[in-house]
């Protein structure tokens, strides 16, 4: 995967989506689309043009953990790299997300450096595997 990859950012707060999008642009990723919860994200994911998913957890409609499960359950999406970017920081939640198959977990508030590190780590792991 490269800087041309299509990234979908899912968060119910428009300001957070905007901040993440700007940070991704600064990192060189120009193709960034948005959704405000799992229900609006899934059709975009199933459209087949998304290469990387960054999602919040606590959202109305379909929350992030359920979105992750839906992605992993869909044979066409199961291998999608997923980074969870959320304020949910309980140990059992992090474990639950890991067991559900998330590739990375960043807690809010976060730094641009952390975001870059996690994306790079996921991409490196995918390239190696």
């Amino acid at each position: 995967m490269s800087a041309d990859m299509n990234i979908l950012v899912v968060d119910d707060f428009s300001t957070m989506r905007r901040i993440i999008k700007n940070l991704l642009h600064d990192l060189g990723y120009q193709n960034v689309s948005e959704a405000d919860d799992g229900n609006t994200a899934l059709p975009l994911l199933r459209g087949g043009k998304i290469d990387f998913l960054i999602t919040d957890w606590n959202m109305p409609g379909m929350h992030g953990l359920e979105l992750l499960r839906q992605v992993r359950a869909d044979p066409k999406l199961a291998r999608m790299p997923v980074l969870m970017l959320t304020a949910e920081a309980k140990r059992e939640q992090i474990i639950e997300a890991a067991q559900a198959g998330v590739d990375g977990y960043v807690i809010k508030p976060f730094t641009a450096v952390t975001l870059k590190e996690k994306i790079d780590k996921i991409l490196a792991a995918r390239a190696a595997g």
């Binding site: 304020a87 992090i94 807690i107």
Partner: protein, 243 residues
Amino acid sequence: MTALDHQSAFIEPRLEQLATAFGARDEAAFDAALASLLACRTGIAAGAPPALLGDLRRVASDLQAALERFSLDMRLADFARRDMPDARASLAEVLRLTEAAAHRTLDLIERSGPLATAVSESSRAMLQRIRNAESPSGTEMGVLLGRMSNDMDHLRANLTEMQLAQTYQDLSGQIIRNVMDLVSEVEQALGELRRLGTQGHDVSSTARPADARGSGPAVPGIDGPERVNAQRDVDELFARFGM
């Protein structure tokens, strides 16, 4: 055991007296037995049974509780009809204010970035020319410096606007404080309702059922040690899964 059961020791003999007086067509005895029976029922006869007085006390207590509950119900009705919708609208306004402020700030940041870049690149280009022993003309310098000055003025204005955009904190803070006051009132009312509803009964508090949706950012004083504090704690947890 019903009130009648409690009173049977008093009522039965008087009923028998009433029946006997009726059978004997003894009007005086019938009137006396009836008066005694009615007095017994109202509990004003001498030696009225404690159980009857206990029933009356319970009825009075229930009535008082019902009146209190009615008054509480009226308060809760006001909360439901007026105050809760107002609180919801207030919080929606807080969301709107904070979102508008964040977007405004981001707008200004996005506009300022190119200005700073332009100043940096222009001055770097001119510096390079000077290092290359090229002497820019006075006109060139004038144009460059004029442009840089203009850009910096705009940048300074953007910074001032960013500062002003933070005034949302004051406005939204006042709204949130009003909602907090309302929440305290509702909490108090629910506490009274619980007290009325559970008088004499031992009710243990129930934990809020876990919600897979999540609970949002940590709130100091509420969230306990089950939350991690930093990204490195998350990374350590993840490492256990080979990630």
